[in-house]
């Protein structure tokens, strides 16, 4: 999936995460994370964002995320929203 523009989703309210996804010239997914739970969950949050983007076929992107204690399903939902906005795609393949 190709990132065409800056895509943003989520807020900086408690239990949420704000994710900004931008196009990148370089190969790979670069993630810059700020989190209230950085020490304990920083790596896990980054991994989840990367996994979510890769599963949608993203090969290159710059991601900036500000986390306020979001749990996994929230991180995944916000990453997908930001990604589909950045890729300008409206159709998502929902799984049963």
């Amino acid at each position: 999936m190709e990132i065409k523009k800056v895509g943003v989703a989520g807020t900086v309210e408690s239990s949420d995460i704000n994710i900004v996804i931008e196009p990148s010239d370089k190969k790979g997914i670069e993630i810059e994370l700020q989190s209230t739970v950085m020490k304990q969950f920083g790596r896990q949050i980054k991994n989840l964002i990367e996994e979510t983007l890769k599963s949608e076929g993203v090969e290159s992107a710059v991601v900036r995320a500000t986390d306020k204690g979001a749990i996994d399903f929230v991180i995944k939902a916000r990453a997908l929203t930001a990604l589909y906005r950045a890729a300008e795609i409206n159709e998502y393949s929902w799984e049963a």
């Binding site: 989703a9 309210e13 996994d72 399903f73 916000r78 929203t81 409206n90 998502y92 929902w94 049963a96």
Partner: protein, 298 residues
């Protein structure tokens, strides 16, 4: 045991904290909203969030409902595609006006169920009626699909369409509430009342709950956790009502054991409706946790 739908709490579909905590406040149902409480720019965001929540969270015994956007909007179809797959207990349709609205959504859900290998008809729906046309068509709406488990009245749009406003007494809603209730009862489905928006006015809220309970509604939509306990208290049978119901049921059993066709209690004959009401009181008391079956034998 009878399914209680005394309270259905609104939860904004784009708020993670609320989505994670909503089931902890004790309402019988929680309704994740993709419609009016979500801005046009965040429809995609709320859809992803609610879908992933339903795929992940364990809401225990709390019934999960998702209010989708109308199928006449650009969001309704996507909401339906996502939510039939996410499988909340019920999908709620807003602004239902005709039986065709229900038939259309029934067919669309059926197509999705086939695609994903679900039994056709397994997805349940609830219809909100929010206009004079919807109220006039309430019975046709209530009987348009076997998926339909409840109809609900949405008052704000309704009173605006009626060129009036809501009053504390609710006289402007009496005909609509009554019509909707009769439609629901004739169809054998649940009837749910509209929200009370002033969360600081406890007295006004409780007066309205007493009114809709007396009319016969199964429950009410609530917009704040503090409204839940007040509704449940009003809907819980009193000790006196339970005691009386137990005596009625006892008299029936005694008559049955004697092979007597006539049932009497305190010298008065008990007829069918009294018996039905007694059973309903005990069902509600059991479901509310204030009565256990074995107490009946004490």
């Amino acid at each position: 045991m009878v399914k209680l739908r005394r309270t259905m709490m609104y939860v904004t579909g784009n708020n993670p904290a609320n989505i994670m905590e909503a089931h902890l406040y004790g309402s019988d149902s929680i309704m994740f909203d993709l419609e009016d409480s979500v801005s046009l720019k965040e429809k995609d965001s709320a859809r992803f969030l609610v879908y992933n929540a339903l795929k992940t969270m364990d809401y225990g015994n709390v019934e999960t409902v998702v209010r989708i956007n109308g199928l006449d909007t650009q969001f309704g179809r996507d909401d339906l595609e996502a939510m039939v797959r996410a499988q909340p207990d019920i999908i709620r349709l807003p602004k239902t006006e005709t039986k065709q609205d229900i038939i259309d959504v029934d067919n669309m859900i059926g197509e999705i169920e086939k695609q994903i290998g679900l039994e056709v008809g397994s997805t349940k729906i609830m219809a909100a009626v929010e206009s004079p046309l919807g109220v006039m068509n309430a019975y046709e709406i209530a009987t348009a699909s076997k998926r339909l488990v409840a109809i609900a009245i949405g008052a704000e749009d309704f009173v605006t369409n009626m060129k009036t406003t809501r009053s504390p007494e609710g006289i402007e809603l009496l005909a609509a509430r009554s019509n909707l209730l009769m439609a629901a009862r004739a169809a054998g489905i649940y009837a749910l009342d509209t929200v009370y928006t002033n969360i600081k006015d406890d007295d006004g809220f409780m007066d309205e709950v007493k009114l809709i309970k007396q009319l016969g509604f199964d429950g009410k939509s609530v917009i704040h956790p503090r409204q839940i306990g007040m509704v449940h208290k009003i809907y819980t049978p009193t000790e006196k009502e339970i005691r009386n119901a137990v005596r009625v049921v006892g008299a029936i059993k005694e008559a049955e054991s004697k092979g007597s066709g006539v049932i009497a209690l305190d010298g008065k004959m008990i007829d069918g409706p009294v018996v039905d009401r007694a059973y309903r009181v005990l069902e509600l008391a059991k479901a509310s946790g204030v009565y256990k079956e074995e107490e009946q034998n004490d």
